[in-house]
Symmetry: C2
Subunit: 350 residues, 2 copies
């Protein structure tokens, strides 16, 4: 192992003290031009780079942000698609602001054992925390988090309260409103019997989407709409099963909203097996607006989640939180219904 070059070496070569070297490195204003020049030359010559660990210890801050993913294992493709742009956005923003990002991918078990907290949060090697999960968080975790006082942002989850204080800023997107919009679109096209295929039940977005659907259905439908709810699990196959189940009923729904695009694809596949035409025989709406779905025949009507924006906003708010110690807030970003050929007016056969 070669001798690591330290500030000492630089100071010696530049004939100044380590204090001066430190000042140059940190851009302190009160350094003479010639000292600065000598130091920079020495740094260059020795190939010196500050030891960030030592910096962190001395400064009491790490310039490091932890992004904690909490998911069921294994992570579903559908979840990736949503989370990766968020991660990218976080990374882009934070790098610009001179933070490095550390990640930890955790499974649900960790959370419930509150190992997550012990492993991740209590070691003080981070200045802030972004929690990226679609699963409900437990009380003990929230308590630990609250006690830790670590600046925290939740993305797509929360807001959580502990001891009547908000724990963490919550950056959300509007599941409910957009499902209602989709529902209304279908109604305006004459659909009266609308089916809904949920995602996994422990997934809060799925819960919110189902809840919105239930509200609409109970308001506008005069039949037992629970018949037209199928509990899927976000996989293509469960979408397939969903449509299959619906079309064994009499009457079947004339339109189906799916909690993600993969299930919508599964449903479209099943429709094919039944020789149902889309949208003439059944209209389909997905959620996530994944690229492949727009290339289906017919192209899928879907809902676009502002993933990148969620990440960007989350990172921005976290930095502000760290700098100003500002208060936690809750921000909801808009979603967008993208209408394509998979929905159409209800067929009037008379």
């Amino acid at each position: 192992m070669m001798h690591k070059v330290t500030q000492q070496d630089v100071a010696k070569l530049a004939k100044v003290s380590t204090g001066t070297v430190s000042r140059v490195i940190n851009g302190h204003p009160l350094v003479s031009e010639e000292a600065k020049k000598a130091v920079l030359a020495a740094i260059e010559k020795l190939g010196y780079a500050p030891n960030t660990v030592a910096q962190s210890l001395a400064q009491g801050r790490t310039r490091n942000i932890l992004v904690a993913f909490i998911d069921n294992s294994p992570i579903l493709p559908s979840t990736w698609q949503y989370e990766l742009p968020i991660l990218q956005a976080i990374n882009n923003f934070l790098r610009l602001h001179d933070y490095s990002v550390q990640i930890s991918m955790n499974t649900t078990n960790d959370t419930f054992n509150s190992i997550l907290f012990k492993e991740i949060v209590r070691n003080k090697s981070m200045d802030g925390l972004i929690i990226l999960t679609s699963l409900e968080l437990g009380e003990s975790f929230l308590k630990s988090l609250y006690d830790s006082k670590i600046p925290t942002v939740f993305i797509g989850n929360g807001p959580y309260m502990y001891d009547s204080h908000q724990v963490g800023t919550a950056i959300l997107f509007d599941n409910s409103k957009i499902i209602k919009e989709a529902f209304n679109l279908l109604r305006s096209l004459g659909h009266e019997r609308i089916g809904f295929i949920t995602g996994t039940d422990d997934h809060i977005h799925s819960q919110l989407r189902l809840e919105a659907f239930t509200q609409m259905a109970s308001q506008y439908c005069d039949y037992s709409f629970e018949e037209y709810i199928f509990h899927g699990d976000y996989t293509i196959n469960s979408g397939f099963q969903g449509l299959f189940t619906f079309f064994k009923k009499t009457p079947p729904p004339s339109a189906i909203i799916c909690a993600n695009d993969l299930m919508a694809i599964g449903a479209m596949r099943a429709a094919k097996e039944f020789h149902l035409r889309i949208p003439q025989d059944v209209s389909i709406i997905g959620f996530d607006n994944i690229e492949v779905a727009s290339f289906y025949s017919p192209p899928l009507t879907s809902i676009k989640v502002p993933s990148y924006d969620l990440g960007n906003m989350g990172a921005e708010k976290l930095v502000k939180l760290i700098q100003d110690g500002s208060a936690y807030e809750t921000i909801t970003l808009p979603t967008e219904l993208i209408v394509r050929k998979s929905v159409g007016a209800v067929r009037r056969d008379t």
Copy 2:
């Protein structure tokens, strides 16, 4: 801000020295039972957790691994699909071995400016480095890496040499062999005119796949096979364009190999526009084996890349590298051709 509880506090409460507390924490054998008990009780009572930054500084190692992604921006869905299981595998393995993982997502520009290296590699806050990229790395980057002596693993890239030494262990998968296998499958089904749709040209996997195709075509085809190479960019749309272009030629190919599944989906979509039946009129093979493609009609024949295994192997080798200082090696994992209905025997119209 509450007073952070330190080892001092624990030592005081347990009526021992900080040295003893440290020994207990690190599982040092020479500690009396009662001392250990007292310390553990104090830790519990105070809710103490060691400051990892201070530990790192004192020990000269961080137990932190950096995973550096280097991609074009924005990252394509196709790339995610490949990279995320790798990341998960790395994370799972390293957590088990008590390392934390830090990531940095970098764009090509960074690399060429060799900012990547300065920003990431020279700050000594990591014990090892995993580089995850499908882009060719530049000389200056490799030099810096070589000089830094940081234990490094490349996944899906390399092996790179500098100064006639291998730079980093390379964990690869076999692009070439599997493309040849796909080619041979098509030949055995009677296909003589086979088209190829490439990915982006700066992508080494695309290069390797094309190279393998070229080798086979130049060996077995007696016409100008370059006519049947279309340069795509991994998007669905470019696959669409590819088939479109091929079928304006006379004769068109009877089979097409695509450098990823999304382009294969695009090609299948285009086939539909041309009223071509798959596989009767044209056989299609993809690469990546994404789930949606297996739900297409007909289900797509594709090549399965062992993403998770790549990550797992990479992490394992890196840990060994750090511990034993073992030599760099090159490991190639097998890929698998998954045959589905999108390929068939060539049609004999006479």
